[in-house]
């Protein structure tokens, strides 16, 4: 039996006190202990990106982070995107552009885009393709995902043109 640790996680704005095993990955903590099953898990070794969440605002593979190491940090999952007024702009764009078929990769793709857009330098299609290439999708062929992310990236950038110094040198 692995030893247990008491950790505090802020998940989608809600504080949680959780008893976790040292070997438990963050995605298992989120799904099994917090009950936030929106985050999917597939390969469990960092290849597919299905488990992408935001840790302190930055996209990360939650199968490659031990829950105990996320202690004290702020996590955002796909459940944080929509609010009472409806889906957020990314979710709307995914719907409009047909960016999902089976939907398995979608929570990870949405969180990758949510956290990745602020890192884009010029929101060009090439740059968006590179961002989206982090995650695997077995259905869509990616083009429609790139369409949606590009659209939202450009929309958000036009609303808030403060560009972080990032990406291409």
């Amino acid at each position: 039996m692995s030893e247990r640790h008491l950790i505090e996680l802020q998940v989608n704005g809600e504080p949680h006190e959780l008893l976790v095993e040292a070997r438990e990955t963050l995605v298992d903590v989120l799904r099994h202990r917090v009950g936030a099953t929106g985050t999917h898990v597939a390969c469990e070794h960092g290849i597919c990106g299905a488990c992408t969440v935001l840790i302190d605002g930055e996209p990360a593979r939650s199968c490659l982070v031990l829950g105990v190491m996320a202690d004290g940090h702020e996590i955002r999952t796909v459940e944080s995107l929509a609010d009472e007024s409806g889906l957020n702009d990314l979710q709307e764009a995914f719907t409009a552009c047909h960016s999902l078929q089976c939907g398995f990769c979608t929570p990870g793709m949405l969180m990758l885009a949510e956290g990745g857009i602020p890192h884009l330098e010029d929101t060009s299609r090439e740059e968006v393709r590179e961002l989206v290439s982090a995650n695997l999708c077995r259905c869509t062929g990616y083009e429609t995902i790139v369409d949606a992310v590009e659209q939202v990236a450009q929309q958000r950038r036009s609303e808030d043109p403060t560009v972080t110094e990032g990406a291409s040198a």
Binding site: T52, V68, A134
Partner: protein
């Protein structure tokens, strides 16, 4: 695909981490970004009994330029280096920021660290190649105190360094490149580990012999190519470069034709980039 049971310890300082590693013994391992160690634990390729988390140690993630030398703290992430104005705008170090685009993808780069990549010593990883290319010094702290290891002496082979089990990489010091620089790599997809990569520093002045050419994909660890360095210093044409790389690869006993062609192609591409900058 789940890590085996393990115990977890959080280090508050470098000396605390060294103490923990010493007390817990051989079966203990440092964990930083976890981007290599966690997947290895999930595959049960690594099965440490104890983890020493160094990510809460303050001050280990700094990126500083002083006297033209760039010092990168072990906990600086790949993405922090990629976006660092200090690295991007340092004439002698810009290549380091440019090369970070090739390290995995954004969600890997936001967590993976420089120290972890150096200690992990994957033969096709970008950091070990950059460290050898720049003649970097890796600073490690252990029970015996602090020491500086030249990168060229650090990497022994695949996943092997001369670091002791109680030693922690605290920072890496990069002297500036004195000439123009270039980097090229080939992988099956963007973000995959490279099948071959090359980094080049052109000579600091016409007639100088200080060109450097370092490649991965030719040996288990990043390797300098001496004949090619001489050819680059002499301003060789692509064809002359190709012949010099082939001579170096003969010396290294690389006989896989595909690998030889890839390495050659990457050297020519990196030299071209350096010459046009």
């Amino acid at each position: 695909m789940k890590p085996a049971p393990v115990s977890y310890h959080r280090a508050s300082s470098v000396s605390d981490a060294v103490d923990l590693l010493t007390t817990l013994g051989e079966e203990s391992k440092v964990i930083a970004g976890g981007q290599s160690l966690v997947p290895m634990m999930s595959f049960r390729l690594a099965r440490p009994e104890h983890l020493v988390d160094i990510t809460r140690i303050p001050g280990l993630d700094s990126i500083e330029l002083a006297d033209d030398e760039l010092t990168i703290g072990a906990l600086a992430t790949h993405q922090a280096v990629l976006e660092s104005p200090v690295v991007r705008h340092s004439a002698g170090h810009g290549l380091i920021a440019r090369t970070m685009r090739h390290v995995g993808h954004l969600p890997i780069r936001t967590r993976g660290t420089v120290g972890g990549s150096i200690a992990h010593a994957d033969g096709s990883a970008e950091w070990p190649l950059l460290a050898v290319l720049f003649g970097a010094r890796v600073v490690a702290e252990g029970v015996a105190g602090e020491r500086e290891v030249p990168a060229e002496e650090l990497f022994f082979g695949l996943y092997t360094t001369c670091l002791e089990p109680d030693e922690i990489v605290t920072r890496v010091i990069f002297p500036p490149a004195k000439g123009a620089t270039g980097f090229a790599e080939y992988g099956l997809r963007h973000g995959d580990f490279a099948l071959a990569a090359a980094g080049v520093v052109l000579p600091s002045a016409v007639g100088a012999t200080d060109a450097r050419v370092v490649v991965s994909g030719a040996a288990p660890a990043p390797t300098r190519l001496p004949a090619t360095e001489a050819a680059v210093a002499a301003g060789a044409s692509d064809e002359a470069l190709r012949q010099s790389v082939m001579a170096d690869l003969d010396e290294l006993e690389v006989d896989d034709d595909y690998q030889r062609d890839l390495v050659t192609g990457m050297v020519i591409k990196a030299v071209k980039e350096a010459r046009t900058r």
